[in-house]
Symmetry: C2
Subunit: 195 residues, 2 copies
Amino acid sequence: MRKPKKKAAPSGNRREDLLRVCARLFREKGFDGTSIRDISQAAGMHSGSPFYHFETKQEMLVAVMEQGLEEGLRHLEAVAALKLPPAEKFRKLVRAHLETICGEGHDFIPVMLYDWRSLTPANRRRVIALKDRYDALWQKVTDELQAQGIMGGDAQLARLFTFGVLNWTARWYRAGGRKSLDEIAEEAARFLLRE
Amino acid sequence: MRKPKKKAAPSGNRREDLLRVCARLFREKGFDGTSIRDISQAAGMHSGSPFYHFETKQEMLVAVMEQGLEEGLRHLEAVAALKLPPAEKFRKLVRAHLETICGEGHDFIPVMLYDWRSLTPANRRRVIALKDRYDALWQKVTDELQAQGIMGGDAQLARLFTFGVLNWTARWYRAGGRKSLDEIAEEAARFLLRE
DNA sequence: CCTACCGATCGGTAGG
DNA sequence: CCTACCGATCGGTAGG
């Protein structure tokens, strides 16, 4: 194997660097499509070194997903705690969610959206615990919207349809495209709230 | 490698059998997570035999996607050709689309939704040609709905949001769940048409 | 975190 | 479509 070009600028936390590299590569090429050597090289390490930080490649995958969900939850829960009318809160949640899915350098949650299948059943359970909190947060806002008659139909389906609109953006959004993330967030909220 | 259990019930077209097996396995485990040996065994062949039908594994992937899109298009274009009010036509298109995405034995289009990244750039172009026809078909109905004031906002975004609601169902729908595919289709159409 | 390495598995092929 | 096989690459490890 080739030698990494540089000794890598000394960084406080190599584990974090590694995780960021994993997130980016997993998102671009998929978990199975990314080799340990790809990761090592991108992090400026030799091919055996990632295993000093993570026991297995599978551990890198869960770590990426968990970190993404935890950061996302922190953001969303802060927004959800604001005292605002439901529709206004919803708009802000939509914007925050789109940021964690399409924003510059936000590769962590997309990895979860794309590579769920690659998790072992045991690790799937670990991630589901976090995902449940995500679902509960959105379900609560959805319920509020429905109570106000701004959103109709079955409550759980309404949440899943909302996730569809938002999460699908990860597939087609490109920075520098026809619409900015702000514009898309605004239109998505309007679309979902039938305004 | 182990010997395939049976000689495989004689079938008219082994290539088609192989493609069905590929679609199912690619959907379940991903393209990179499925080995030629997985495919051979599931098809009741020996491990070198799939290459009698396809030049490379990559060719199996495009073939799955192309067949899925072609069949889907045939269905949808038949529905789109019906003389019906836009909203009614939309409802039927939603139902047909959900069938090709969640229906029993419909693994072909989900492979495209999941494993797009695994296509080589050249093959991506081949598939995009078909996907464009899909997009155009939906864009036309979306435009009709907007002309009637049943759907608002930017026309292209409205289509992408619609795709989000529909395509995302592939992630969470499970046969035998709380809602049938018919019920989901009806609610999705209502949700999108803000009825 | 590097060095040097291993066994397993991978996609693919030649020849029949 | 089977048989027998190959070179490459994979995730991971022991020892420092």
